[in-house]
């Protein structure tokens, strides 16, 4: 990258369009012609493209470390054990197994006691833009979670950052007992930077999801971030 500041805001934005494939056909033809004719222009464009890729790659790289913390623990580790060790291990496993069995079932009980699907939003059907959203809401309210998920997934493809869609997709999966699928959506809601009226509820349900999976610490953490009455009650039960 050579001299400074020889890239104007307009040029940057044009290159962005080109990079994102959002340039219309005529502009693209002119742009590509210029690329062919001017090696200097070509170099500028390449530099900016490389920068854009660099930003994206580094941003992804940093996100991967966050993802890494959420990898489920490996079950099938390689071990080479001697018979005595196996016997000792077996005894320990049985002891802990009993513990897990009972504590596990109490988690399930607590989950069942506390989980009730969010009642959903009133479906007034006034605004035609939101028709698809509320159409799915009707299915959700009728307990037809498969249909609701299907429809909201379509909307999610278009508006992946819409907190309301993410929240209800998470809820629909949870009500359908698909905890694993529900978690990423609820997670996304809790990470939102915009004000969201159901934020506390999202933390509450995310906490419940972790509880169901036996991840008590994560359950407590999320419940702690929710200020609904239910989550405080559940948190107290978990502490006892």
């Amino acid at each position: 990258m050579k001299e400074k500041s020889n890239i104007s805001q307009e040029l940057l934005e044009t290159i962005e369009c080109y990079y994102n494939n959002s340039m219309d056909r005529d502009d693209r033809i002119i742009f590509e012609k210029k690329l062919q004719d001017s090696p200097e222009f070509k170099e500028q464009v390449e530099d900016i493209k490389t920068m854009l890729l660099g930003i994206e790659t580094q941003a992804l790289k940093e996100q991967l470390d966050d993802f890494h913390k959420e990898i489920p623990l490996e079950k099938n580790k390689i071990r080479f054990l001697q018979p005595l060790k196996i016997a000792v291990a077996a005894a320990i496993i049985i002891a802990f197994g009993c513990f897990w069995f009972f504590s596990g079932s109490s988690n399930q009980k607590l989950y069942a006691k506390y989980f009730t699907p969010d009642p959903g939003l009133p479906t007034t059907m006034s605004n035609s833009d939101d028709f698809e959203f509320y159409d799915a809401m009707v299915n959700y309210k009728h307990g037809d979670y498969d249909k609701a998920i299907q429809k909201w997934q379509v909307l999610y493809q278009k508006q992946a950052t819409n907190d309301t869609i993410n929240y209800f997709l998470g809820l629909a999966y949870m009500s359908h007992d698909k905890i694993e699928a529900a978690k990423p959506f609820l997670q996304k809601v809790t990470e939102t930077k915009k004000p969201f009226p159901f934020l506390s509820e999202a933390y509450y349900y995310l906490g419940l999801a972790y509880l169901k999976e036996g991840q008590i610490e994560l359950a407590k953490e999320n419940l702690g971030l929710s200020n609904t009455e239910q989550s405080q009650k559940l948190l107290n039960e978990l502490k006892n």
């Binding site: 990258m1 500041s5 490389t50 890729l53 660099g54 930003i55 994206e56 941003a59 999966y173």
Partner: protein, 192 residues
Amino acid sequence: MGEINKSKHQSQLISAIKNNDSVVLKSLYTSNYNKIELLVLRNSGTKEDAKDIYQDAFIAVWNNIKNNTFIPVNERAVQGYLYTIAKNKWMDILKSSRFKKTQYGFSNPSLVDKSDYVEDVTDKNLENEKLVSTMEAFKILGQPCKELLTIFYFEKKSLRDIAIQLQIDEASARNKKYRCMEKLRNMVIAPK
């Protein structure tokens, strides 16, 4: 893996990856790691090695999907591809003079140009010097600029969304973005 279910169309999967959809990327990332870890642990590596190699492979796969070098038919194809690339990368490290404990990110030239694998589409454009220096510069770029550029270029939100999120008007979001890019460019041109 319920959220990327089989009925999801190929184009949806590809566009989700190209748009850096965090739900899809996270799910791909977390559900494929354990296989690689097992492979590396069984072949004289550590967990740390496994993580490094896996992240490099993941970025290579993402990049190849982005630039259409690799067009997966479904999620399973992505998984297989990811595994193959990670495996090849680990084999390379094993072969490279009994892998000295040096950094072997994709910037290491020893991993470049070993095209003796059928499946290994070399992640050439990830080894470009300018790219590496942009990444280095971006890593240490001041937080406000880093956040803004991440939201715009990585999360691919519109200027309008950014303006709302950062509580500024759209025109200043646009100017700020340009100034941040200039700042980053200057860091790349003349690193301190």
